[in-house]
């Protein structure tokens, strides 16, 4: 079976600095691959080359068998890859429905004039969130009134609603309390059940072991090792993150 996403020989040079070199890995549908590594290991650079923000100096990315490299961020998103950034890219002053549809709002026409269909967007948002096991108390309230876990769920709902086949999550639990971290882990498992591939960026060991099907450790811009959670332990992962040879 061919993989959903294939990363082949990615290299990125900034000026004379080689940030990332010779990164290879694959992600299958319904699988969660964790990109682990210390700060500055090159995790974000790899992600940005996948999501179209940076063009790689060398190497290609294939998605669903098609070449992805060279597409704009919008093109990558249209192909079915949604990136959820740490700040979640939510507009805090808008309700979940508008956040779900931001940039692609639903409108209805009245006397020839377009009017936002807020009610329909709210209903859709509540439905998608329900599918993630999250009940929004007041669908018309701005998302700043929601908990960290619920806000994360909106960002994930956005990915699901627009039929993303691969979701990239950047440190999703970084700013959350313990119960909310659990909520997010549960969300990741539901995404997997829906057959969505996930790349999770993290340097938090409990998260890594709770979510990963495979762990890819980056150290100083190269892949330090690839492990299954069942075949490794905290100690080894830390050692790999510190850059010890595998």
């Amino acid at each position: 079976m061919s993989a959903l996403l294939e990363v082949k020989g990615l290299k990125k040079r900034f000026g004379g600095n080689e940030a990332v070199s010779d990164v290879n890995f694959a992600v299958n549908s319904g699988e969660c691959v964790v990109l682990a590594g210390d700060n500055g290991a090159g995790k974000s650079t790899v992600i940005k080359m996948i999501s179209g923000v940076h063009a790689p100096t060398e190497g290609e990315v294939y998605f669903d068998g098609n070449l992805l490299t060279g597409k704009t961020p919008q093109g990558v998103r249209n192909a079915g890859i949604e990136t959820i950034y740490q700040d979640l890219s939510l507009a805090d002053n808008l309700d979940p429905g508008l956040n779900l549809y931001l940039g692609r709002e639903k409108v209805k026409h009245f006397l020839g004039l377009p009017f936002l269909d807020r009610a329909a967007m709210r209903k859709d948002a509540a439905e998608v969130m329900k599918g993630l096991g999250i009940e929004v108390p007041d669908p018309s309230a701005p998302v700043r009134d929601l908990s960290g876990g619920q806000r994360q769920a909106i960002a994930i709902a956005r990915a699901i609603h627009w039929q993303a086949k691969l979701v990239i999550m950047d440190e999703p639990t970084a700013a959350l309390g313990v119960p909310e971290q659990r909520e997010v882990m549960a969300l990741i498992h539901r995404l997997k059940e829906k057959g969505v591939g996930i790349i999770l960026i993290s340097h938090n060991l409990p998260d890594i072991f709770a979510a990963a099907d495979r762990i890819i450790v980056l150290a100083r811009g190269v892949v330090g090792g690839e492990r299954k959670p069942s075949e490794t332990n905290d100690e080894e992962i830390v050692r790999l993150m510190m850059g010890a040879a595998s």
Binding site: P73, S89, A91, L102, V107, L113, F115, L116, D145
Partner: protein, 333 residues
């Protein structure tokens, strides 16, 4: 616990409606004052209401477009002299075309006047969007440039005109409503529609909350900013056209005394300097509050300078109300 929650949500809705309450309060104050002092009514006299409506509409023409810019998290100080520039340009075009071609001259002059405003808006938008100049500084620059340009084309003087058509637009009435007031009402409806019911409006709110959120949603933020500054300049420009029509003369400083009142109206109406909040209905109430204070103080025979003190105090109250609102929402703002 439940009681506390009900109390807090009641307080919050009270704070949301404070500008309405405040308006009712000052109207009530002036009514009672008038009854006691003169035995006459303040509220139920057409002349008073018309004067307040005209004063409010002058403020509104500058404040309406500004509301959208402030919701987006920016500010447009240039509107004070965009108004003046449009006023002078319209007057000059009417003079140049002569009084004989009537409506055609007035309409042509208005189109050119608006185009002058659009140029200012384009420059503002370009500075803020593409050159990343903070809007406060950028529009302070164009404030000076527009002021100079208006004075230069006007030769430093007021440009008086003779046009019955223009005078009708500035002073005529339709069904008892002064045309400047009708203009402001129509423009308020258009701006309310744009901000509340269109994609453009949602993107404006989102931009005020988080630039990244709109950018990553695939919206061209630079184009959005340019459109916002053009809207702001155009409503201010319409203010200039009304000024020239009303006084049969275009003056470079036509909008200058109203600029701060316009900014104040937007903030009294519930907007925040950090962006992401504010409404057109709020701005309308804000403008009416200022107009009532202005006219009411004159009406009650107090020295007119008290209006500056009163409006200043209302602005401070507006900010305090905004802050206590965010405290009530648990500091999550």
């Amino acid at each position: 616990m439940a009681n506390q929650q009900i109390g807090a949500s009641f307080l919050r809705s009270l704070l949301n409606a404070w500008s309405w309450l405040f308006l009712v309060l000052i109207l009530g104050f002036f009514e009672i004052y008038a009854q006691i002092e003169t035995g006459n009514t303040f509220l139920f006299r057409t002349h008073n209401m018309q004067s307040i409506a005209i004063a409010a509409s002058q403020i509104l023409l500058l404040a309406l477009g500004l509301t959208l810019v402030i919701v987006a998290g920016h500010i447009d100080l240039s509107i004070g002299f965009t108004t003046g520039l449009s006023a002078v340009v319209m007057a000059l075009v009417i003079r140049w075309l002569g009084p004989d071609i009537g409506w055609l001259a007035v309409i042509a002059a208005m189109v050119v006047g608006i185009l002058a405003a659009v140029v200012v808006g384009l420059i503002n938008g370009w500075l803020v969007a593409y050159l990343n100049v903070p809007s406060f500084i950028g529009t302070l620059g164009t404030y000076g440039v527009a002021r100079g340009a208006a004075l230069i084309v006007a030769g430093g003087a007021t440009v008086s005109i003779r046009s019955d058509e223009a005078r009708f637009i500035g002073n005529g009435e339709i069904l008892g409503f002064p045309i400047p007031v009708i203009t402001a009402i129509l423009l308020a409806i258009v701006c309310h529609y744009v901000l509340t019911y269109t994609k453009f409006g949602v993107h404006t709110y989102a931009l005020g909350a988080s630039r990244a959120s709109v950018e990553r949603a695939g919206v061209d933020v630079n184009k959005l900013l340019i459109k916002l500054f053009i809207i702001s300049a155009v409503t201010a420009g319409i203010g200039g056209l009304i000024y020239t029509s009303r006084f049969s003369a275009g003056a470079a400083n036509a909008g200058e005394p109203i600029l701060l009142y316009a900014v104040a109206a937007v903030f009294i109406g519930g907007a925040s300097l950090t962006g992401g909040q504010g409404t057109v209905t709020g701005t309308v109430i804000g403008a009416i509050i200022i107009a009532v204070i202005q006219f009411g103080l004159v009406f009650s025979g107090l020295p007119p300078y008290w209006q500056f003190v009163a409006v200043g105090l209302v602005i401070i109250v507006a900010v305090l109300v905004d802050q206590s609102k965010s405290k009530l929402t648990g500091g999550r703002t």
